[in-house]
Assembly symmetry: C2
Homo-oligomer: 474 residues x 2
């Protein structure tokens, strides 16, 4: 089953890692002297308001450079949805100094890899290079931060590329289409309802002027965070950053309005009929995140709760629904505590062949009821925490992931230091807290449900649906 | 049962008429020489792009002056929802020449009445006066079209007034709250999802700068239509308009983007739990309107279809559901063919005491199925058409309504001449056409359902809920 939930950061990251990492950030050598956890993080502020964070990691002679802008689909609004993602594409279409496509060519010539990523709350640009090549990345990134040349001909071409991407990944992908509509019904006033790739009607109406304005509004050094991780010296990186990014003029940047979600007051349920082979179910409960939680242990309790349901083969959904009752062909749960606004704890799955979606929904609801009705036992809680922490520690073995997380936390306004509280906070979660968040948040009045009702497919659609879904990696 | 559907123009108009008309536009004297239908409409274009339409009606010595701006909630987007309505309020807060509140005082001193109205597709300002006082209205309206003084102190006060209006009419009004959420779920990408009064979070974040920008963007003579109806001479009105409005500078006005609604692919259903005495049900089917219909007879067939369900005591809902089976305490159907974008055919109602909402829904669905399954008989069709036409003709007896309709059709871009095709087009609708639109549009895949699930009320809420709901009349 494809994963149609591009907003869930952990999965987006994994998708990205799969695409970018193999060559750029080799797996940690267990014999290396210095474990990742012991490396230090250094923070600098340039005079123009651009923040630089350097994470040393000397296990391999590589460096990762990431520029994070505080802008993404949740900064958009009806009429220009998808503009952040289109602009991300256009960032490869040249400046006065470097023509269209040169950015990628130069990085490749230097043996590097690069990509970009648009999320709900950020747009980020990455390069992985041999450590001596960092100036190459800085020269190119600083150039396009203020000197992008947006040209009508390139724009006209590129917006068609994006529309085609939307067609393949959303229109012709039944589970992604279901997710998109689910998401727009779950959030009614919050900008999290906006699809990252944008509504087709808005893509069709997008203009170069709007793109210009979006670029000017958000692409300034004082709205960016530069994250560098790898085998580097912090002082040298700082000097290099000052040389390349320091001369860039800051600009007035007005942070986005809060646009809070209205109070949900009862279950919402939609059906989406689309060509597909199997039915598919999404359930989402409105829950707080670190940035919004009144009680700051709650997001960690929700993280553990998601781990109880879905965190390896011994987690409840796999054990009880896929293997045990065999109601589900697949079932998963997801939650991210790192979001700018109120978000969702999600459950999704496909029923096994001889069951229908209603049976799967009932089984998922029973799982939720169990979390509300009984505290998790200490042995299970400890096992789950160990799994959650292992996932995190395993991820932190990757230089790339560390940089990702620093960039994300900075861009969300939480501060990268929050990274370090993750382990102790998870460890401190109690069974009573897990039950309390289940009771408080996993109830009918906060629930949105979407059901994909499969329609006959023709061969063409079948081929399209097999293509990659997920986040909007360029 | 209150009517929580402020977007339905016919009802909004009626609400307005109730509030404004009694003194300003007396009912037609049946002995008057000249029936309304025989009066003439004159169209002029001022040099600055402002359109003037004059409708003569000499039955009474009064004149109605209306200024219609092409802007309303469907021009807005997340973050500034409600801004058109707030601006409408601010239009009474003074110019350089006339201080806050003077507008209303001067009109009142001249024995006139005035009001304003914000809809999804327009913002309009009306005065009814003794026919000799038309210059008073023109002087004031032309002044505030370009010279509004938006002051922080007045704005801070007025936005609180609007929030209080929202609290009373929406937050504390269960059926309006249900409608608001229904509407935001029925429309996912179309701006028709935006509540006219705005989301509370957006009202809280609205700034004077945004209001300034909104005023500059839309309040220009070339984005306005002046409609004058009553006992006037068209040439004199034109001269007067040229004198007062002619000197106003035109501005660049970019029409709003289409922002079409995505294709609905299955039923959507929400529950809204709110303090209320009785349950309430809303059902809406996506249907075309005059501005969007591929086949232009369809909106007229839908108009007749709505009339079959709800058009006086002999219409089906009243006859079969309220009086016959007595399942419904109330039940109504509504449709407006005059909208800028795809809209809804709506059904709503409250179950009778000994029935539940599910029974009412079933009964309404049975009514819809009947329209799909069997053509209406010729006698019923003729009776309904007569009723629909009688409603229209009765409304056209009112000078005010005529001006309203001209302004609306102009503002929607349809042109006032479309008014005149209404009667022959309705008369031409066949039973087969009614059945065809029922089959084509009134099906599950286009349906959104909202159920108000009543929660216990306290005395305070009870008092609030009894207050007037409906359109956003100032």
């Amino acid at each position: 089953m494809e994963n149609p939930t591009p907003h869930r950061i952990t999965r987006s990251i994994l998708l990205f890692l799969i695409m970018v990492l193999p060559a750029a950030a080799p797996a940690a050598d267990p014999s290396a002297e210095q474990p990742a956890a012991a490396t230090r993080t250094h923070e600098f502020m340039l005079d123009n308001g651009m923040k630089l964070i350097v994470k040393e990691d000397h296990r391999a002679p590589v460096v990762v450079s990431q520029v994070w802008y505080k802008v993404g689909s949740s900064y958009e609004h009806g009429g220009i949805t998808g503009i952040s993602h289109v602009l991300e594409h256009m960032m490869f279409k040249g400046t006065k100094k470097h023509g269209p496509g040169e950015f990628s060519r130069i990085i490749a010539e230097n043996g590097g890899r690069e990509n970009a990523f648009t999320g709900r709350d950020y747009t980020a640009y990455f390069q992985s290079l041999e450590k001596g090549r960092l100036p190459v990345a800085f020269e190119l990134e600083s150039d396009r931060m203020r000197n992008l040349q947006l040209q009508q001909a390139e724009f006209a071409k590129e917006v068609k590329v994006v529309m085609e991407e939307r067609r393949m990944r959303t229109e012709d992908n039944a589970s992604a289409l279901t997710y998109e509509q689910f998401n727009a019904v779950a959030f009614l006033s919050s900008p999290y309802r906006i699809p990252i790739i944008g509504w087709m009607g808005d893509l069709q109406g997008l203009t170069l002027d709007e793109l210009h304005a979006w670029y000017r509004k958000w692409y300034a050094p004082n709205n960016a965070t530069l994250v560098v991780a790898g085998d580097v010296d912090p002082g040298e990186v700082r000097a290099l950053a000052e040389r390349y990014f320091g001369p860039l003029e800051p600009d007035t940047v007005t942070p986005p309005k809060p646009r809070p979600e209205i109070e949900q007051r009862g279950v919402r349920r939609i059906t989406v009929k689309a060509p597909a082979e199997v039915p598919y179910l999404i359930m989402g409960y409105k829950v707080p995140v670190l940035a919004t939680a009144a009680r700051d242990w709650e997001p960690y309790a929700l993280e553990v709760l998601a781990g109880i349901l879905d965190g390896g083969d011994s987690a409840r959904l796999a054990r009880e629904l896929v293997r045990g009752s065999q109601i589900a062909a697949s079932a998963s749960a997801g939650y991210s505590l790192y979001d700018r606004q109120e978000s969702l704890l999600m459950l999704d799955g496909a029923p096994a062949n001889d069951h229908d979606v209603a049976a799967l929904e009932q089984a998922l609801r029973a799982q939720v009821a169990q979390l509300r009705d009984a505290p998790v036992t200490v042995p299970e809680l400890e096992r789950v925490k160990a799994q959650v922490l292992a996932d995190r520690i395993y991820q932190e073995d990757s230089v790339f992931y560390q940089a990702m997380q620093i960039g994300q936390l900075e861009t969300l306004g939480l501060g990268w230091e929050r990274m370090e509280e993750y382990l102790p906070r998870i460890q401190a979660v109690t069974a009573a807290q897990v039950q309390e968040v289940a009771k408080r948040y996993l109830n009918e009045d906060r629930l949105t449900i979407a059901v994909l009702d499969p329609q006959p497919m023709d061969a063409k659609v079948r081929a399209g649906a097999a293509a990659l879904g997920g986040g909007h990696v360029r």
